[in-house]
Symmetry: C2
């Protein structure tokens, strides 16, 4: 609102875009950034590095940074300032205490369902206080008032989300998802730690993402060869985002432990043959 | 843009909402309205009734009014002012000369495919001149620059749109759709004209919608009975919008001439039994 500012933390591409968009409709400031000179972010900032504005309207973070391969494993304490979190790429990866957040938003297209719908969990008091000089479609209060039917709802995406949530429940819910995701993470990061002369993980250990482990090979030529060999072996989509290069293993909830284990086996063979 | 105003025409619920939203982000004025004291609109305004601002940034109309059952059958001449048209509920109903419009937008969920995606056809010069102080997601220029991949695309809805367009092509394209839609319109409006003592069409003849014919029965009790009897006979969704009441026959491209003919037969029987 007028006279207020919002705090943002730059931990990667999407966090930065959120900050840049916020500046268009209001006043926003950076409470912290871990962006390096080459544009990459290799870690999540420590609590002591974050300079929160105690009078901010809200504080915004992005919990998982798909391109950088980093993830918040402890959420910052912003005191009385409502914490807003973009969980698009890691919601449902494990149980989360939603009461700690003023608002959580998540584009469905990773762990919830197909693209085309966004889940929002918000404190009523926060959205009630929202600005009324912005388009109605941007006012969460209006969406809540209309039971999420302010606009014509994307029915197929919602139907698929219902099905995915049902499957997650049947498979043991979020505790089971967390167990599975930690096993997958242990497999991939085990590989990086054991073969660090060949697979170089740029991300600080405590900031590693369980959704998108990233790593580099000794040369870009080898990275290209790995992407191509992997494709022949049945592993697709392992190329890192074009803005940072390297290899990225997206292992969202739908990816099984067995699939990751098979990839790790393939990667070990690749290292042996090309290392 | 600053210092400019946009013209809107109120022909019903959606046209009015567009006007109301425009006033939030800029200056907007009504070039005409056919809203009556009871909130309904029974016709499309004549060219002579529209008071266009020759210096407007654009002029906005809604080509088909689903709730009121009216439709533009001749598009207004706005001279040098770009005409923007919401064709959400009647795009693809017949061939349209898109070159006459500055911008056309259409939510897919009627004639193009499932809900969750919007088609936009725009003059490059118009979108290039768009404001840059609004959220990026609202700037058509940015969407065009990124080949419609500014945001994560709703892939399933786009895939279905591709399939629907393919089917429309296979069935003879838009000339075939127009022929079919005019036949459907002739059937329903034939019923209203022949049995006008029982089926009362509130809409002026020249403004009748080929997508959503609406009519009233002698009493609300009979309207309720018709909805209920129709359901038993296999016709669903014929209840008029709650804001206006009555009966509404939505006959988008996917509805066949045969289906409408069967409904008309049912309606004649209903009139005979209850008239």
């Amino acid at each position: 609102p007028a006279g207020k500012s919002a705090d943002y933390v730059n931990t990667g591409t999407w966090a930065k875009k959120a900050f840049s968009e916020a500046k268009i409709v209001g006043k926003a400031r950076l409470a912290g950034s871990v962006e390096e000179a080459d544009g990459t972010c290799k870690r999540i900032p420590k609590a002591s590095e974050l300079d929160w504005d105690a009078s901010a309207a809200y504080a915004h973070i992005c919990s998982n940074n798909t391109i950088m391969g980093t993830q918040f494993h402890e959420f910052p304490d912003t005191g009385a300032v409502p914490l807003i979190c973009d969980m698009s790429s890691d919601i449902l990866w494990k149980p989360i205490d939603v009461s700690k957040f003023g608002l959580i938003y998540a584009g469905a297209q990773k762990n919830i369902g197909p693209s085309g719908v966004t889940l929002v969990i918000a404190k009523k008091s926060l959205i009630e206080a929202g600005r009324e000089d912005i388009p109605k479609i941007f006012r969460y209060k209006e969406h809540a008032k209309e039971n999420s039917l302010l606009n014509t709802a994307p029915t197929f995406a919602i139907y698929m989300m219902r099905n995915v949530l049902q499957i997650v429940k049947e498979q043991g819910g979020l505790p089971a998802m967390e167990k599975r995701n930690r096993e997958k993470g242990a497999l991939i990061y085990g590989l990086l730690d054991e073969s660090s002369s060949f697979f170089r993980g740029p991300v600080e250990k405590e900031s590693r993402s369980f959704m998108n482990p990233v790593f580099r090979l000794p040369s870009e030529a080898l990275e290209e060869k790995m992407v191509s060999d992997a494709k022949k072996a049945g592993f697709v989509g392992i190329k890192g985002h074009r803005s940072v290069g390297g290899i990225r293993i997206s292992q969202y909830n739908a990816v099984t432990v067995e699939q990751v284990a098979k990839f790790v086996e393939f990667a070990k063979g690749f290292a042996k043959a090309n290392g």
